[in-house]
């Protein structure tokens, strides 16, 4: 039983990864594995929908940074949607709010 479920879907802007559950030291490798299978074309936007993410620690933030590196390596963009308040606080402390575009929900994030 995994504490993290990742649902992948395609939007007009590119792939959307919906993270459900906990993104931490134990589950972060699963996000890495899924990212490796996601194909991104230049100019697309990888959207991480965090509305269902219940927990995120520093390992989880690292996984999000890896997602960002993955997107940028493909000359694509990355956006975070519906970041939970507690994670947003961690991201503010770490300055990560400066390097991710943040959106209130995945609808907004997938608007071309």
């Amino acid at each position: 039983m995994s504490a993290l479920k990742i649902v992948t879907r395609d939007a007009a802007t590119g792939p959307v990864l919906e993270l459900l559950g906990e993104l931490d030291y134990a589950t972060a490798p699963e996000l890495r594995d899924v990212l490796a299978t996601v194909t991104l074309r230049p100019g697309q936007r990888l959207v991480m929908d965090l509305a269902g993410m219940e927990f995120c620690d520093s390992s989880g933030l690292t996984a999000l940074i890896i997602a960002r590196n993955h997107a940028h390596a493909a000359r694509a963009d990355i956006a975070l949607a519906a970041v939970p308040a507690r994670t947003l606080r961690l991201m503010n402390i770490a300055g990560l709010d400066q390097i991710f575009s943040l959106h209130p929900d995945s609808d907004v994030a997938t608007r071309p």
């Binding site: 030291y25 890495r32 620690d57 520093s58 390992s59 933030l61 690292t62 940074i65 890896i66 590196n69 993955h70 390596a73 503010n92 402390i93 770490a94 300055g95 990560l96 400066q98 390097i99």
Partner: protein
């Protein structure tokens, strides 16, 4: 067939039984003396003084002796090895005298060609009609197989013990190596800063695991000292390698240009160049410079933060406030990063407290689901504001103890304060 012809009988009839008994009897009759001589065990009878009066062929065969040289000429103990003889005299014979019989004692007998044969010996005293002891009957069982088995067991046990000893030695060596490495990550002692007091505390969440938190204090020349505290993402040896690189980079960078933002920018460049792509390694760190002024008894503090939780300032009057450093980015994830700066002045009785998020992220409550958090830390700090750094540190160490298994992550703590009363040393004569 032993059945008589013409007689009717079933397969298990009385006649068959009779016939079988007869054949057993014939065998047994054949055996009485034969059995004694060639039994699969040794027999011997001795007088009470041990002189052998009767011995069977099996035992003679084992020992490679002739009957003539044994009977009437040798005692039982003459057949034993030195060790066997000794054991016989000290244990076997006294017990036999006391109990009248003794069974299953392991002894060693001498074989031809200076060989020794492990045996199991049982003896019983034969008494006369008046109850007086007459002689001793002894059976000797070949225990070579059993001895081989025991030796095999012993060898296996020794091998297991050796393996365990080796594993323990390896473990001790590994722990020693870890301890040495851990010391390379953290200073043994903090240098004394004239006119200031410092205290630090490090709590590992797991004793076998190298920590990813770090801190240090070192002189910059003149009256200024540099300090830093941080947290490398991840755990284990990979994180420790980053910690080590981080610590020495910060020290070297500060000697070159101690401006806090410049120091963090150098570290950022080093980490980003070294670790990038699918295995990003970064850290959060607060780097600062403290410049105590002996004239005023105050210490000017300048810090820069890269993604680290805000420092706390504990004032002599009992206040505790965060020293916010918003917007500073994690060190090492971007080729060029911006860092936040802050400054404050510590008056006598004030202290600056740096901590890693192992403290604020400690799980609290009965079900360990709540987090300790910033507000609780600030309130705790306010309770201890005005106390010297050593006392604040002691209180925080006790607080960490109280979290028990709610501590998931390592925690590093560093406090720098100006004593409320003049400290001994350079500050003393200049204190107003």
């Amino acid at each position: 067939m032993m059945c008589r012809a013409g007689q009717q009988s079933g397969p298990y009839g009385a006649d068959d039984e009779e016939a079988a008994n007869a054949s057993f009897a014939a065998l047994l009759e054949d055996g009485a003396e034969e059995l004694y001589e060639n039994a699969p065990c040794g027999y011997l009878s001795t007088l009470l003084d041990g002189t052998v009066v009767k011995i069977n062929a099996t035992l003679l065969g084992w020992l490679g002796l002739e009957r003539e040289e044994v009977v009437g000429r040798m005692r039982f103990t003459d057949l034993l090895t030195v060790g066997g003889k000794l054991y016989h005299e000290t244990h076997f014979a006294p017990l036999l005298r006391m109990r009248g019989e003794i069974g299953g004692i392991a002894l060693e007998m001498k074989q031809a060609g200076d060989k020794r044969m492990p045996v199991l010996v049982s003896s019983a005293v034969k008494h006369g009609e008046g109850g007086q002891p007459l002689l001793i009957r002894t059976t000797v069982f070949d225990a070579r197989d059993r001895r081989a088995y025991e030796e095999e067991l012993l060898r296996a046990r020794k091998a297991a013990e050796e393996a365990r000893r080796q594993a323990e030695a390896d473990r001790a060596r590994l722990q020693q190596a870890l301890a040495v490495l851990q010391r390379s990550l953290l200073p043994d002692t903090l240098p004394a800063i004239p006119g200031m007091e410092t205290a630090a505390h490090y709590r590992t969440a797991s004793p076998d695991r190298l920590g990813g938190d770090f801190y240090d204090v070192f002189p910059l020349g003149g009256t200024r000292f540099a300090f830093f505290l941080g947290d490398v993402c991840g755990k284990g040896p990979e994180a420790a390698a980053v910690t080590s690189l981080t610590r020495y980079t910060l020290r070297a960078a500060a000697l070159h240009d101690p401006d806090p933002v410049s120091v963090l920018a150098t570290l950022n460049e080093v980490l980003h160049e070294r670790y990038t792509g699918g295995d990003p390694r970064y850290c959060t760190v607060v780097f600062g410079i403290v410049d105590p002024d002996p004239e005023s008894g105050r210490a000017a503090v300048r810090i820069a933060s890269g993604g680290h939780p805000p420092a706390l300032v504990l004032r002599a009057d009992g206040r505790a406030d965060f020293l916010p450093t918003p917007g500073g980015l994690l060190v090492g994830i971007m080729p060029a990063a911006s860092f936040a700066t802050a400054a404050t002045t510590l008056a006598p009785g004030d202290a600056l407290l740096l901590y890693t998020d192992g403290l604020t992220e400690a799980r609290t409550g009965e079900d360990r689901t709540a987090l300790y958090g910033d507000a609780a830390l600030r309130a705790f700090a306010a309770d201890h504001a005005g106390e010297p750094p050593g006392a604040v540190m002691k209180a925080l160490a006790d607080l960490l103890d109280g979290f028990g298994d709610g501590l998931d992550d390592d925690t590093a703590l560093l406090a720098l304060g100006v004593p409320s009363r003049p400290a001994p040393g350079p500050a003393t004569k200049n204190t107003p």
